[in-house]
């Protein structure tokens, strides 16, 4: 590290702002008119400061980053305002000088580590490229520096890894490589656009820790763009909250999180389910949708969704300095400060508890799925053990949460239950009928009772069909409605059941917002009158405020229709909120099963503990107080699975015994099962 600090003579001493953005406007000319993506944004960033820009999709946060980097599409994007970086006016620079600046003084880290590295070039080449271009290093110098960078971002054995290609790295490792490339030229500013969104919780924790540490050590200013409030709380010194192209609040992280002075920030913070608080019965939500930026409402942008809306809100609010030292774009900020107005608590509802156990609706026994490995290099008979010996039951009206990191087999379990994949071994029984031996006729009736809601609301609806056709199709196929008119009525009924206006039936999916599409997906599932729905990451692609609405809808439907859910997700807080019992999976196997409160209060399995520790909590005070307990290493390779307990390679308490015996899932306490020999 000596060499790195040596190349930066004055590490501390923040002298004035590094980046100053004044009255930034970005407009896009589209065929639907001008879309004002960013309007009048001003902020400053000091040297070595970490600032988070938070907002939902379409709020203009990514566009801001691209505008600073001058990477917006030239033909349609129009940028106005002043961006001063280190004394230079970025928007007035000629292309040549701007290019020199990019990658040397400002670098950018993107969300998708799988696609932001060139698959045909070695890692070494991609790290040394900016060094030879911007700093004019020789090949040998650049290579030495690349080695240093890789060890800086925590990649073991850097010398040999330099000659490897991106596909030989895991997702987390690739993101480390991206960070290494970002750091290559000692930038003064790094802009990270959703740097950990595509990563698993345990890997996310590693990367967050790394970036925070590097920024502090090398005095690099960091702009983190994210929608995840937990990530913000872990990182940021200062927070900028954006809504519909405008900054609505800006202030110290502690102030914004604990004493928000804008109704939107208040609402946003309330609508996230939190691991560190007792579970409420119902999620708080912000009603309504983000406005369309092509014809945004006059006055306060948030007014249509704001419960504190008064007459003056029809006028555009300016940025007010509040008591906390933060800036708020709300006319009523003073009243908020005096606690005169606050969000009403959501109606209490009844806290859902695990149903009285009668006969299970669905039971899965020793379910196993092996995928054959194809390809020339694969050994004959080689398999990926995606799901191994999984057993659980779901009772009528119950929600069973299934959590785990990517590649743990949770989605495969869902697909096996839906019979989209053929299990290798095991048994799936629904209402007593074994699905694997059911006749075609029996299967036909059962299919209707088991439905699915997918993660991606964009690709789960056929783009060539209208909403009415999508929801009406099962009615038609299964003759659930006697006449066309009855079918249309039923579609209208289903639409209002999921909170959509019946007129939306004539629209195509691309004309709807993400949340609306997810509601259509739910209505399609309900059209079959199912008793069991597999929700495969049903809310993870949605914005925070929309996520709450959908979860509440699912819970309401469950109460009203007596549905049972298998809720597959990676977000622990969401799973805790909606589930009655939770199954934790790792690498194809069940690690722990218990009811919701037990598993979150007193987890037994070391993996569950690690998962809960890694999940960021949207509260900077909590985050600062937490000792970073990081799990080392990454998911093992499916090509070379570990012997014995699958978790032994990363387990903090693993011993020799763990490498030899496969721990069975045992009832350690009443109703609390864990697969670990050390408990």
């Amino acid at each position: 590290m000596e060499a790195l600090t040596a190349t930066r003579p004055q590490p501390a001493a923040a002298s004035g702002a590094l980046l100053e953005v004044e009255d930034l406007h970005v407009h896009f000319e589209t065929s639907h008119g001008v879309v004002r993506a960013v309007e009048g944004l001003s902020f400053e960033i000091g040297r070595g400061e970490v600032v988070a820009i938070v907002g939902e999709s379409g709020s203009g946060k990514s566009v801001t980053a691209l505008a600073i980097m001058r990477l917006l599409p030239r033909l349609t994007g129009r940028t106005r305002g002043r961006v001063t970086f280190d004394g230079k006016q970025l928007l007035d620079l000629d292309d040549e000088s701007m290019r020199e600046l990019r990658g040397r003084d400002i670098s950018m880290i993107f969300q998708e580590p799988m696609t932001s590295l060139n698959p045909l070039l070695t890692i070494g080449l991609q790290i040394t490229e900016p060094l030879t271009i911007h700093l004019g290093m020789s090949d040998a110098q650049a290579r030495a520096r690349a080695c240093e960078l890789l060890s800086l971002v925590g990649i073991p054995d850097p010398e040999s890894r330099l000659d490897q290609y991106p596909h030989q790295f895991s997702g987390g490792m690739r993101q480390r490589v991206m960070i290494a490339i970002g750091l290559a030229c000692n930038p003064k500013l790094i802009i990270a656009d959703e740097p950990t969104t595509a990563l698993d919780v345990t890997i996310q924790a590693q990367i967050l820790e790394l970036m925070k540490d590097l920024s502090r050590r090398l005095n690099i200013a960091l702009i983190v763009i994210t929608h995840n409030l937990g990530v913000v709380a872990r990182y940021a010194d200062r927070v900028i909250v954006m809504y519909a192209a405008r900054m609505v609040e800006q202030g110290e992280a502690e102030a914004v999180f604990h004493r928000p002075r804008h109704p939107y920030s208040m609402g946003l913070l309330r609508s996230v389910p939190r691991l560190d608080r007792p579970r409420g019965s119902r999620l708080e939500t912000i009603e309504g949708l983000v406005p369309n930026l092509a014809n945004a409402p006059p006055g306060c942008r948030f007014a249509p969704r704001c419960p504190f809306r008064i007459e003056i809100c029809a006028q555009e609010p300016s940025l007010f300095l509040t008591d906390t030292g933060a800036l708020s774009r709300c006319h009523r900020h003073a009243e908020i400060a005096e606690n005169k107005i606050a969000w009403a608590a959501a109606d209490a509802g009844t806290l859902a508890v695990a149903a009285e156990h009668g006969a299970p609706l669905l039971s899965v026994k020793n379910l196993t799925k092996h995928f054959p490995v194809r390809g020339k290099l694969a050994k004959k008979g080689a398999v990926v053990r995606a799901v191994e010996d999984v057993s659980f039951s779901i009772y009528p009206g119950e929600t069973l949460g299934l959590v785990g990191e990517s590649g743990c087999g949770k989605t495969t379990v869902g697909r096996l239950i839906l019979r989209l994949e053929q299990p290798t071994a095991g048994e799936i029984a629904f209402e007593g009928t074994n699905l694997l031996t059911a006749t075609a006729g029996e299967m036909q009736t059962i299919r209707r009772k088991i439905q699915v809601i997918f993660q991606d609301p964009y690709s789960s609806l056929n783009p060539r069909m209208t909403v009415r056709q999508i929801i009406g199709e099962p009615l038609h196929v299964y003759k659930l409605a006697p006449t066309r008119k009855a079918a249309d009525e039923r579609v209208g009924q289903l639409l209002s059941q999921v909170g959509l206006r019946p007129e939306l039936g004539e629209r195509y999916p691309h004309q709807l917002s993400g949340g609306q599409r997810q509601r259509v997906g739910i209505a399609r599932a309900l059209a079959m009158e199912p008793s069991f729905i597999v929700c495969d990451e049903a809310v993870s692609a949605l914005d925070v405020s929309i996520q709450g609405q959908i979860i509440n809808l699912l819970e309401d439907l469950q109460r009203r229709l007596g549905l049972a859910y298998l809720f597959i997700a990676h977000d622990l807080a969401v799973v805790r909120h909606i589930s009655m019992r939770v199954v934790v999976m790792y690498f194809g196997r069940v690690m722990e099963v218990a009811d919701r409160d037990t598993i979150y209060r007193e987890p037994l399995h070391p993996y569950t503990k690690v998962l809960l520790d890694a999940a960021p909590v949207p509260d900077p005070t909590v985050e600062k107080a937490r000792a970073p307990r990081l799990i080392k290493g990454e998911l093992p390779s499916h090509m070379a699975p570990p012997t014995g307990c699958v978790f032994n390679t990363r387990c903090p308490i693993a011993s020799q015994e763990c490498r030899e015996t496969i721990p069975p899932l045992e009832e350690k306490r009443p109703g609390h099962y864990a697969a670990c020999i050390k408990i």
Binding site: H32, V35, G60, N292, L418, F454, V477, E503, E506
Partner: protein
């Protein structure tokens, strides 16, 4: 990148007249449609439109240059080229369009089925496609023509249509399969499977509309190929035969011998083939965009 999604209108606009809407959205496509309609009109009503009998040999005006009597000149037998072109559009449309449509549609169904079922079925279909692809289009057409008996329905040589259609099948099947493979893994297909819909329904209702883009491109591109193949087969004496008026035949017959003296003998049929191909391709493109709901506001 999260740029705001394009504006969403409050109420879905339903096109009042599909034809009017097509003209408004796709002016270029409308022009090509007009050309196709004119060609179809000329083909159907040839006896009314054509100034002369296309088979009428007139030794008084052999190799006549374009003039007021003969707009496109006359050929080596003194037949009116303009009239032959008008009658020829009948042959071109029947053979070219039908064989391309039949071939592409069968290829598309095969391609989607191959992608949908996967595994062994996919392997078998693809090996079969490989075998067919090993033969050049014209050779395969020759085999088909030779293998089957001549079979004429209503003056149309069904055998010839099949001969041109069959070599098109594997080519379209390959391309459509590739597109269908990406549609196959879309969650909405999984949703349809989870709903227990029949294979036929999933293939025709959920997958086919989403691979319509490559299908239409292939279909219109193969119309041109089919017209040319028809000409080649005719030249070899296996397709349409003299004295029937056909564009390909007009190009490949003795026209080449007289290209110095009578360039119009090649010029006009060539121009017609190009125009037809151009019109079909353009129309296919605009139809693809028009049928895609995502291009609508």
């Amino acid at each position: 990148m999260t740029i705001a999604a394009p504006s969403v209108p409050e109420t879905g606009t339903r096109p009042r007249g599909a034809a009017l809407e097509f003209i408004r959205q796709q002016p270029l496509g409308a022009v090509s449609l007009v050309i196709i309609v004119i060609m179809m009109f000329a083909g159907i009503f040839s006896p009314l439109v054509a100034p002369y009998d296309p088979l009428n040999i007139d030794f008084a005006s052999i190799l006549g240059a374009p003039s007021w009597e003969h707009w496109c000149g006359t050929d080596a037998y003194g037949r009116d080229i303009c009239s032959r072109l008008i009658y020829g559009s009948r042959t071109a449309l029947v053979i070219g369009f039908t064989s391309s449509f039949v071939g592409s549609s069968m290829g598309a169904v095969l391609g989607i089925a191959s992608a949908y079922f996967g595994g062994k079925i996919d392997d078998w279909i693809q090996r079969f496609v490989d075998v067919l692809l090993a033969f050049p289009l014209i050779v395969l057409a020759l085999v088909v023509v030779a293998a089957f008996r001549r079979f004429v329905v209503g003056g149309v040589d069904v055998n010839l249509i099949l001969a041109i259609a069959i070599p098109i099948i594997p080519r379209v099947a390959r391309v459509v399969r590739a597109a269908a493979l990406s549609v196959r893994v879309m969650p909405y297909v999984d949703a349809a499977r989870a709903a227990g819909y029949s294979h036929t329904r999933i293939i025709f209702r959920h997958m086919a509309p989403n691979v319509v883009a490559p299908y239409l491109i292939m279909l219109t591109a193969f119309i041109a190929q089919a017209i040319l193949a028809e000409a080649s087969l005719s030249f070899l004496g296996l397709g349409v035969t003299e004295p029937t008026a056909a564009w390909g035949l007009m190009l490949s017959g003795n026209a080449a011998d007289f290209y110095r003296e009578a360039p119009w003998m090649i010029l006009f049929p060539g121009a017609m083939i190009s125009l037809a191909v151009f019109a079909f391709n353009l129309f296919g493109d605009s139809l693809r965009d028009f049928l895609d709901p995502r291009f609508k506001v």
